[in-house]
Amino acid sequence: MKFLKVDMSQKTVTLEDVKSDYAGLGGRGLTSTMINAEVPAECDPLGPDNKLIFAPGILSGTSAVNTSRISIGAKSPLTGGIKESNVGGTVATALGRLGIAAIIVDGQAAANELFLLKIDRSGEASLVPGDEYKGMRTYALVEKLLSTYGEKNGVLCIGPAGEFQLGSASIQASDVDGRPCRAAGRGGMGAVMGAKGLKAIVVELGAKNSEALTDPEAFKTASKAIVKAIKENPFTGQILPSAGTAALLGMVNGLGAFPTRNATAGQFEGADNISGEKLAEVITERGGKTTHVGCTQCIVKCSNEYVDKNGKFVTSSLEYETLWSMGGMLGIDDLDAIATLDFLADDIGLDSINAGVALGVAMDAGHKKFGDSQAAIDMMEEIAKGSEFGKILGNGPEAVGKHFNHHRVPAVKGQSIAAYDPRGMQGNGVTFATSPMGADHTAGNLVGEYLTGALNPLEAEGQIEASRNAQIAMAALDCTGFCLLAEPALAAPGATEAFIELLNAKLGTQMGIEDYTNMGIQTLKAEKEFNRKAGLTTKDDRLPKFFYEEALSPHNKVFSIKDEDLDSIFDF
């Protein structure tokens, strides 16, 4: 495997063998280990010393299903700590097939210079001046790039928010239909890309797999077992393909943990108008797609295509987190408005979660009324314009809270929570507080535990352990390139063993479950170490005060996990 090193100061692109220190690593394990080892922890995240690393998972590029995730890591301008944000689409598989373990972007182009990184199917890579793409939104940008370089390319790119280097700026990935609708949203990775002077990475698809498997037969057998497990699991085999992640909305709302109107209530009275069931009904009536493949080699198909009353494409994929951040969190129960806001987030290149919560804080502070969807759309356009107030909004909820001197900011380490109120799902609060990534549901989400009744979401007991286990499991999974939405299928008898067999058959290792778990632990250790060097302390592992003080309806609970318990979570 090779590293593709891009020096934006010198405008050089070189291909190097993977150093032995990084052998066998992939995805988040690789980005976090490398950032901890090579990025000065106190550097300016938007300066030349930060590295922006794109690492496909260990299994990306193989024939295994649902392995098209790429980890994008850097020091985050939003959290001030380490960040890994991962996304599907088509690029991870393409890079894996080219034998590229990571693209490492270092240095910084001069202000006002903008480039594309073009990689063809033979692995030849070059920086191309990108002045003509300056200021472009992502849909127009990707359309132009695909018409210039051909439809058979995958794109990772930034929109205006990335060029403005805003804390909520995402890196958008094109899906299998060539739409930039999948987001590495969290942590402001788009701002780092913008600061480097890189507008897009364009990767030609269709390279033949250059990396031989160590044991092709074992790989094939294990692959079949994974396909079977995914198909037979009711969540991955039925619920996700028909309702997508939006299926969660009714359940989380039903449990009173759906943060509503900037987390002032746990249930949204308009939930039935924006639920997964309603979404599927509207999409079906209008001739859109309730089932859609978003990422290469996906057999789960959690994605959808939302269309307007005339059947015209509005956005893909309308997911649970955005139905919340642009819906319940803003008091908006109009699917058309939420779909427009989702499209704008993708098009401007914004994390729909952080941006939605920023709008929610502005509404809570009295800037606009909750439920005013036009005001929400106008605020998104303000961000795209790059006005003074637009930049405040685009820098996320903490910047908005400071601007309005408003203390109800549901964020940890500067990053907004996701669609689970910590008072209604205490263990998700533990994850939000303690994850080295800032508040991030993908770091260790316990909603499945709560719905099965395995854990009481409202009591402190058992939450630390459950969050720890989930955080370790997610850190390990994020190394592999396997989609976390397919992961529940690994609970089937023998499926986890088959999954580890895939890794062994690829790498030629003899890993067991303990070694696999250790991969997650080592990744978290590297992340915690970097954050410590960057100056983050246990004080940063706390939820905002109002979660401890304001009881959430309908259960009238506050967040009740003790500080010392939070501090003990990573005692390993």
Binding site: F235, I239, L248, G250, M251, E277, V447, G448, Y450, L458
Partner: protein, 79 residues
């Protein structure tokens, strides 16, 4: 007693006459439990159902008495 049941996830697919707005109106014994309701609807373990009552996941033996409506979910995981 009469109880209105709203079905979530893929559960409505099992009831061709199901109306999303109305849900299903069921006549069930006054002493019926959560499990009795699932049995009545012929929903089994493989349907991965969960019922939330008063914002809490209900146990199989919990009685339905006094309720006029319930939501039956399918267990999902976060992404």
């Amino acid at each position: 007693m009469k109880i209105r049941v709203k079905l979530r996830g893929t559960l409505p697919h099992k009831f061709p006459e199901y109306d999303h707005q109305q849900g299903l109106d069921i006549d069930i014994a006054d002493e019926a439990s959560v499990q009795d309701l699932l049995n009545h609807l012929q929903l089994t373990d493989s349907d991965k159902c969960a019922i939330a009552i008063d914002g809490r996941i209900a146990k199989a033996e919990q009685k339905l008495k006094g309720l006029t409506s319930v939501n039956i979910f399918q267990i999902a995981h976060g992404g």
